[in-house]
Amino acid sequence: MSLDKATVASIAALARLRVPEERLEPMVADLNTILGFVEQLDEVDTTGVEPLASVTGHALPQRDDAVTDGGYPERVTANAPDRVNDFYAVPKVVE
């Protein structure tokens, strides 16, 4: 499987990543090198093998669905590039 320029541009759009036109071609080459490398996995017979997503060996701990933290909006928003009162400010979404 080899990616072309249009596919990489659409992946970049999905990833919300602006890749300038002149960077697209080298990116296509890099990504194809990486994909070519990882496609070695096709050689491995994984019939009947359960996927391994976590190595913790324990089930995800559960707790009561209760608020355990919070109540300090000024600390939460302290690093925001733009804010209004206790809110994050973003470019206008709805006209």
Binding site: L3, V8, I11, A12, A13, L14, A15, R16, L17, R18, V19, P20, M27, D30, L31, T33, I34, L35, F37, V38, E39, Q40, L41, D42, E43, V44, T46, V49, E50, P51, L52, A53, S54, V55, T56, G57, H58, L60, P61, R63, R75, V76, T77, A78, N79, A80, P81, D82, Y88, V90, P91, K92, V93
Partner: protein
């Protein structure tokens, strides 16, 4: 009387407790050393005022005969750990100006143990790399130079290269690192220090900037194996704020350190003899095997058949998790914002300007392998192979107590090398990635010098949560290797 810099972490701890030195004096000496070694670019941020204040507080406690396990010991923190009120960048432009309003669990544990923070160390951007060359703040540099080529700056490895350079260059007594596919062990090998990646779950990931959550693990980078045991004891522990944090109690890591390897079964995996491996890597490995055999261990040939598929598996799993984790950097809540004509354009502009080339590659690969139609072919497939890699280790550890392997396939390379092809850089992690995928503890111990006069490490792998065994075997190698070589820059310090 040895100088301040001759003291390793444990020796400095003992000298502080005996009141032979003060933390103020020790910390000031290390801060001066940080200035003197600024050319290593080991630090992104130096917290001198905070360090001196913490040292004074430690001295007050020590004067009263109090003081916790690391009281008054100046350490460096990889810039991936959130530190309250102190710039935390992950070496990325996208975290420009970010000062967390909270403290990571691991660093909070260290401060509770009395450690003194010298500053935040340089690294590969978002811990993605094996050279510390992808940092937005410029490459970190290895204190070591090649014997015949002293003019060429070398990489300290990565991603925890700033931490490694700081410890090896005596600009920190010890440091924290993080290891996702080898980021503690490979830089430890390149700089002649000890680096320990604990079992997945030993150290809380809470407050560590996430790269690949099923793999990321914090650990110590130190001068000696005993230092690593002492430092990890302070860093580790169960944390309810990290759902993957292990509930298993941390055993006394120093108790069996000197127990030796007599009667232990040490596995040597056939598949780690890879094509094109330099002969000096094979030689140092053979020497390590001989040391352990001479010390009474039984050497057992083992097979880890899926070893060669570990790197391709990793380069699907890690980018997939990274693309998901890095979705949070959108110019809204923290860090860089680059405006655009609408919200979507603002996201894309911010991420395009804020992420460096390697991070962008991994975000794109990760997005692709998780996208509809490719998820099963790539991501699911990689998770299945990951299960086979784990099974290989489970079977091997039914027969052996620990595994011995090289840490890295080469000694330190030149700054700027291996950057023409991303896969070339990835191959650095060929010996470290398998244990990462299986979640197992691994440690690199300095074992000797290459023909170029550069450090080479050997790697000890253990069963899940068997850090005591890893440390015990590592200590045996440390003793046999008697590695006393130092970078030339330390002469006269």
């Amino acid at each position: 009387m040895p100088g301040l810099f001759d003291l390793d972490l444990v020796a400095a701890r003992d000298a502080l407790r005996a009141r032979e030195i003060t933390s103020t004096e020790l910390t000031a000496a290390y801060l001066a050393r940080i200035e003197a070694t600024a050319g290593l670019n080991a630090y992104i941020t130096v917290t001198a005022d905070r360090a001196m204040a913490m040292a004074a507080a430690s001295d007050a406690r020590l004067a009263k005969g109090e003081g916790a396990a690391l009281e008054g010991l100046p350490v460096a923190i990889k810039d991936l750990f959130c530190t309250e009120g102190v710039l935390t960048t992950a070496a990325s432009r996208i975290l420009d100006g970010f000062k967390p309003t909270y403290e990571s669990t691991v660093t909070a544990n260290l401060w509770r143990a009395g450690a003194v923070m010298l500053g935040k160390t340089n690294m590969d951007e978002f811990a993605m790399g094996s050279s510390s060359g992808t940092s937005y703040y410029g490459p970190a540099v290895n204190p070591w130079r090649g014997a015949q080529d002293a003019g060429t700056p070398l990489v300290p490895g990565g991603s925890s290269g700033g931490s490694a350079a700081a410890v090896a260059g005596w600009a920190a007594l010890a440091a924290t690192g993080t290891d996702t596919g080898g980021s503690i062990r490979q830089p430890a090998s390149f700089t002649g220090i000890v680096g320990l990646k604990p079992s997945y779950g030993r150290c809380s990931r809470w407050g560590i900037v996430a790269f690949a959550s099923s793999l990321d693990q914090a650990g110590p980078m130190t001068r000696t194996v005993r230092d690593a045991a002492v430092m990890l004891s302070a860093m580790a522990g169960h944390d309810p704020k990290d759902s993957t944090s292990a509930a298993e109690a941390l055993p006394d890591l120093e108790a069996s350190l000197e127990a030796g390897v007599k009667g232990l079964r040490i596995g040597v995996p056939a598949e780690y003899r890879v094509d094109g491996m330099p002969s000096e890597i094979e030689e140092i490995w053979a020497r390590g095997i001989a040391w352990l055999r001479d010390a009474g261990a039984e050497i057992v040939d083992i097979s880890l058949p899926h070893t060669r598929y570990a790197l391709p598996t990793y380069y699907i799993v890690a980018p997939a998790e990274a693309s998901s984790n890095l979705a949070r950097y959108d110019g809204v809540r923290y860090g860089l914002r680059v405006e655009g004509e609408n919200l979507s354009a603002m996201y894309a502009n911010t991420r395009g300007a804020g992420f460096g080339a390697e991070v962008q590659r991994r975000v794109l690969i990760g997005t692709y392998v998780l996208s509809a139609g490719y998820y099963d072919a790539y991501y699911r497939k990689a998770q299945r192979v990951r299960a086979l890699i784990r099974r290989d280790f489970d079977e091997a550890f039914g027969r052996v107590d620990a595994i011995l392997a090289p840490t890295a396939p080469s000694d330190a390379f030149a700054v700027g090398a291996n950057e023409d092809d991303p896969v070339k850089m990835y191959l650095n992690d060929v010996f470290t990635v398998p244990a990462s995928l299986a979640g197992l503890p691994g440690m690199s111990v300095p074992a000797g010098l290459s023909a170029r006069g550069l450090p080479l490490g050997l790697q000890v792998l253990g069963r899940m949560f068997d850090e005591p065994m890893v440390l015990r075997v590592g200590r045996a190698i440390e003793k046999a290797a008697a590695f006393t070589a130092r970078p030339a820059m330390l002469e006269g310090v």
